[in-house]
């Protein structure tokens, strides 16, 4: 199908693959160790430090490369997990209705009605600080949003004639979800996936802000934005480097998602 890809999707795909590649091999490409203090604070871009140095005089490029794997890996893992959890439960709630829907919806309402950061604060203060715990907490918190959306779009589909027909045919629940509801609710969920992936990166930086994220001196892009944010007052571009990387990754992923979205809708329409 690639020959029908528009240029925007090609660009998005190329960038996404580039980021994934960097995530895989980044640490080997890095000129310095991510923790090594090699220069002065906030040195300008130069041959020695292509992206300058950070608030402690560490090489920004090396930290970006080391941070790629951690940032992309954690955000991707958390987002995938939250979608697996959120869509499954959302579809179930919409299809089964009744008390299953009521219980799940109230449970999610309860979780969602507690401010996310406060929730994370309490949970992460009590649980041991590890990347696994971090991913799990992020996934569970995010899955509530996915659940609501999945349930809402599935509700619209469930009442359509073809689902009704499938029920009357006696098709199993799994069949209905996979063959009827899944494909027909994919587009909005795909759009949401791209967004939630970026939110996961940003949420990670908010957690670092509260001292709950990744342990120093390990680098993650959101945390790098936060650590260098004060440089803006100097008019220095350093915090823009990780911010731009996050933005570029987000745009790239969403270009691919947009293309998939169009393919999915085109497939159904035709």
């Amino acid at each position: 199908m690639t020959h029908r890809m528009p240029w925007s999707a090609r660009l998005g795909l190329a960038l996404t693959l580039l980021f994934v590649l960097l995530a895989l091999v980044g640490p080997w490409l890095a000129p310095y160790d991510e923790a090594a203090v090699v220069g002065d604070v906030w040195e300008p871009f130069s041959a020695a430090y292509p992206l300058g140095t950070d608030q402690l005089g560490r090489d920004m490029l090396s930290r970006m490369l080391y941070g790629a794997r951690r940032t992309i890996g954690i955000a991707l893992a958390a987002t995938c997990l939250s979608f697996a959890l959120g869509t499954t439960l959302g579809y179930l709630a919409a299809t089964l209705g009744g008390w299953v829907d009521a219980v799940l919806s109230r449970l999610v309402d309860t979780l969602m009605s507690i401010p996310t950061l406060i929730f994370a604060l309490v949970v992460l203060a009590v649980l041991p600080p590890s990347v696994t715990v971090l991913i799990l907490v992020m996934a569970v918190l995010d899955s509530t949003r996915v659940f609501r959306l999945a349930r809402a779009v599935a509700m619209d589909v469930v009442v359509l004639e073809f689902v009704e027909a499938a029920r009357l045919r006696g098709e199993s629940l799994g069949w209905i979800v996979l063959r009827e509801i899944g494909p027909n609710t994919l587009p909005p969920l795909l759009a949401e996936f791209g967004l939630r992936f970026c939110f996961a990166i940003l949420f990670l930086s908010s957690l670092s802000f509260l001292g709950l994220g990744i342990q120093p001196p390990a680098a993650d892009w959101g945390g790098m934005v936060r650590d260098n944010a004060n440089a803006i007052a100097f008019g220095l571009p350093h915090p823009l480097v990780p911010a731009a990387a996050i933005a570029l990754l987000t745009v790239a992923v969403n270009l691919v998602v947009d293309w998939q979205l169009r393919r999915a809708t085109a497939g159904r329409g035709g």
Binding site: S113, L149, S206, L249, A266
Partner: protein, 318 residues
């Protein structure tokens, strides 16, 4: 009874149940958190004797369930209790902050929601045009920045470099509306940047989803104007996910804006709750938690009711 009214009543009853569950969760959470109000208040200058004196006076030496019941009974009688840390009535502490939070959320929503839906519709109307692509790139960049970064950037650009708006959004009782609106310009801009992107993209996706339906094709074949098709035929059937995403963002504007409050020093409820958690001031944490939870539950109920009203098939399932 009208089915919708019945639904609303049932959901309100369930909502009350949710609230109770939230109160238990929050109470348990603050109990699990290491440290208590006595240690948190004294911080580095805590001595065992001073800590013990505070615990005695606040009755923290009593079992947890007893304290929870006390609080619950008080709440049912409309008494939110007294702050552990500064002994002011919780209702007084919370009331002012709640009004501030609703004001900021209201102004931000008034700007962001029409803008997002309008842009979303425009993006569909002129789909694949330069405008569509430009909007897509801009909204994506806007949501890829951490909130505090957007906040600092706005302050640096529009308060320090070109002094167009005040950087600090301190509001207080007795301030008139014009002055309030003036100080919240930058926080509203920051919140709008964050929320418009999400809502606009969802609006666009939802309408596009409907645009692929056979009946839209029919309308197109009939030769109706594209604007008319988008507005009169596609939009009404895409309302459910749009309302849902708007509600999620409204809830965010009330519940989740603590970072923006910190950056612009806006005295909202989020900042109050963070302070209260830091001090382990349980009555205050509970009150904030209850308000946030109630907001959420009511907004979700509204979304569900609106979704049903806009999709008659949901009204008479099976």
């Amino acid at each position: 009874m009208h089915p919708i009214l019945a639904l609303v009543l049932r959901r309100l009853a369930l909502g009350a149940l949710s609230l109770w569950a939230v109160s238990l969760l929050i109470f348990a959470g603050t109990e699990i958190l290491p440290g208590d109000v006595a240690e948190a208040m004294l911080g580095q200058s805590a001595t065992p004797e001073a800590v013990a004196a505070i615990r005695r006076e606040l009755g923290l030496d009593r079992p947890a369930w007893e304290r929870y019941l006390d609080w619950l009974v008080g709440l049912l009688q409309g008494d939110l209790g007294t702050s552990y840390a500064n002994r002011m009535p919780v209702a007084e502490l919370v009331g002012e902050r709640l009004a501030n939070t609703l004001f900021l959320a209201g102004v931000a929503a008034a700007v962001a929601v029409p803008l997002a839906v309008g842009l979303g519709i425009a993006a569909v109307r002129w789909r694949e045009s330069v405008l569509d692509r430009l909007l897509s790139a801009m909204t994506l960049s806007a949501i890829s920045m951490p909130e505090f970064f957007i906040g600092y950037a706005l302050i640096y650009l529009f308060a320090v470099t070109w002094p167009l708006a005040p950087p600090i959004a301190t509001v207080y009782p007795g301030m008139d509306l014009a002055a309030r609106l003036k100080v919240v310009v930058l926080p509203v801009a920051a919140l709008a940047l964050v929320t418009v992107a999400h809502m606009m993209r969802m609006t666009r996706a939802a309408i596009l989803n409907v645009m692929e339906s056979p009946y839209i094709e029919t309308a197109e074949l009939k030769g109706l104007a594209r604007s008319r098709i988008v507005l009169r035929h596609a939009l009404p059937n895409a309302l459910s996910p749009i309302i849902n995403v708007i509600v999620i963002n409204l809830a965010y504007l009330v519940v989740g804006v603590v970072v923006v409050e910190v950056v612009f020093v806006y005295p909202g409820l989020g900042q109050l709750m963070v302070d209260a958690v830091a001090k382990r001031d349980v009555p205050l944490v509970q009150a904030c938690g209850m308000i946030f939870a109630a907001t959420y539950i009511l907004l979700n109920l509204t979304a569900d009711v609106l979704a049903i009203l806009t999709n008659p098939r949901l009204l008479h399932p099976r």
